[in-house]
Symmetry: C2
Subunit: 207 residues, 2 copies
């Protein structure tokens, strides 16, 4: 399989227009689209081919409300860590789209999967979570290519989410994802546009 420059350009466009979406329309996402995104995750890299990601699609409204509560609590706590001027700036940011997003996915990592037979993770067990992160990123790009937005909510207490959703003991919480159609498209990160943190280029040195 040999790719041509037009295909590399398409990937570049998808990368460029991928955003962490917090502004969702409430339109539903078709089940067949979700199925395609799930299938895309099967193509993600994983240490020892272990595929340790475990996805829970959270449909129950009571559970979703409780996730929102955990987010709000963590977000209030985060705001208190800043000085007054920065706090005012922080609280103006919209950092999650949990209420409007039609699809909620809680993503965990199995820290002791049989699959992979331990290969590649003896000295770096964190590569299991890294595999899940790449599966999430795969989902993210596949979603963007279907014009579906994704927002990764990390302002959450992992233990609280783990307990709320009744995850097995051997699982660790990796990330909570909102999916849906974005209110607008943008080729620059929102945190750059709002002035919170401008884009900086990759730091690259030689040895």
């Amino acid at each position: 399989m040999n790719f041509f420059p037009a295909q590399a350009n398409t990937l570049n466009d998808i990368l460029r227009w991928r955003r962490d979406v917090r502004h969702f329309r409430t339109d539903l996402v078709a089940d067949c689209a979700i199925d395609r995104l799930r299938a895309a995750m099967d193509l993600a890299p994983s240490v020892g081919n272990s595929r340790p990601w475990r996805v829970m699609q959270v449909k129950d409204q009571t559970l979703r409300d409780q996730v929102q509560d955990i987010f709000e609590s963590c977000n209030r706590e985060a705001a208190t860590a800043y000085d007054e001027a920065t706090r005012a700036e922080y609280v103006r940011l919209k950092l999650a789209g949990l209420r409007a997003a039609p699809v909620h996915l809680a993503v965990f990592t199995d820290t002791a999967p049989i699959e992979g037979r331990g290969l590649g993770r003896r000295t770096m067990p964190e590569t299991l979570q890294f595999s899940t992160v790449m599966a999430i990123h795969t989902l993210w790009l596949a979603a963007r290519a279907e014009n579906i937005g994704l927002g990764w909510v990390s302002i959450l207490a992992p233990a609280a989410i783990h307990a709320l959703l009744g995850a097995p003991d051997s699982w660790i919480f990796t990330g909570y994802l909102c999916l849906g159609y974005a209110e607008f498209a943008d080729d620059r990160p929102l945190l750059h546009r709002t002035g919170w943190q401008c884009d900086i280029p990759t730091q690259w040195t030689e040895r």
Copy 2:
């Protein structure tokens, strides 16, 4: 920006033909291609737009030989953990392409970057390493779309790599990457083909 099904299909092809490459030809990779891959990393998601990945391109042959030594030592140690039959299977696997790959990248994560101003990582500081992992995955896909293979070597002692390359104290080692032209293209993981670990579908449940 609205993507069409043909573009989603292109992404799917790139995902499907991305492999963890351990069999490299020794042909050099042009500097301009490396520059494009570096620029692609600028498009990766990061917590709080912090972009904490720090790339060291390892060109010095003595350093490269020492990385190879660390790999061999960790790989021998890993083999001892298996029973005899599995060990025989393990040692037949080719798990790194360090000797032939023309480009070596050591990728670290700054655990205390000023950028991002702490946003999104108060309850989950591991999201900094997660950001680096997504930047690596971005590099991986961009490379594949340019017909350049990438292999992620995780069978390494992080502290030894950190010390060898003189990384700052606030950096943590995330992954060591080999890049170059692959000896062959394949749409299935090598560990599946060799029978070490067959592909399993993403586990997805509902709450």
